[in-house]
Symmetry: C2
Subunit: 128 residues, 2 copies
DNA sequence: TCAAGTGTATCGTTCGTCTTAATACAGTTA
DNA sequence: TAACTGTATTAAGACGAACGATACACTTGA
């Protein structure tokens, strides 16, 4: 199901989080589906249950799944994590734009920058 | 000239960097002016010369000043650091907006967000 | 020329935080 | 109630950031 890379310098829980998130985003794990238990997945990956627990906690934080004590972890509906991701990005964008304006960028500067980025993206989309 | 706050959890070199940057931005240190030497400022602040050195290196990286071996550190022309800051912000903004659009935010969503941020900032400016 | 000033590079110690694990606690269900 | 779930606490180890001691390299003026 998942293979960990011990040459990867990132922590184990982060690798697990990322790979599970990918499976959910791609639809390999359907909404409502039951995730493997923390102990079971820990056994499969030869890792401490806490490591899986931390990955699951992060995925819950990001809206990808929800947990029920005594029952297990389950994949959330798609819109859940999309909303979560948007909120996160909005937060970061706000902070960055605040910096930008204190540094002297005008509103128009930023809008022009955004238009530029989006126009390039439109070209890419034509290829998909 | 500068007072360090040891209750502040941020590292000393970061405090020094920030406060010197403020002095430069506000014009208290004029372009072309000679900065105190690393050893001299280190003495004044009762801190290791390396700490000041690191602050100066950061300020040079950000375009606030330039150094000449054997002579000293000097405040850069204003446009130098403005350009540097803008480039940095543009880079971060580009990366973040790319993420935003892959996450489903539309161009209009982002522009609305920016307008919101700027309108709040305008209110603040009226008070200064 | 050389002493005294300047910036810079290297190295080691300390200290905090991050990561992971061991273990115990708590809820659910057949 | 046994066997499964998730969760909380604590400790140990690794790692990196911050700072300082020290030596190196360049410039200037007496």
């Amino acid at each position: 199901m998942i293979v960990l890379d011990y040459r990867d310098k990132r922590p184990l829980y982060e690798q697990v989080t990322e790979k599970l998130a990918h499976l959910i985003i791609r639809g390999a794990l359907a909404p409502g589906e039951k995730m493997p238990s923390v102990r079971q997945l820990a056994l499969e990956l030869s890792v401490n249950p806490n490591t899986i627990q931390r990955a699951y906690a992060q995925l819950e934080q990001d809206g990808y799944l929800y947990s029920v004590v005594g029952k297990g972890n389950f994949v959330s509906e798609t819109f859940e994590w999309k909303i979560g991701k948007l909120k996160e990005l909005k937060k970061e964008l706000t902070a960055l734009i605040s910096q930008a304006q204190t540094a002297g960028m005008t509103k128009e500067d930023i809008i022009a920058l955004i238009s530029d980025i989006y126009s390039r993206a439109d070209h890419k989309e034509e290829l998909t």
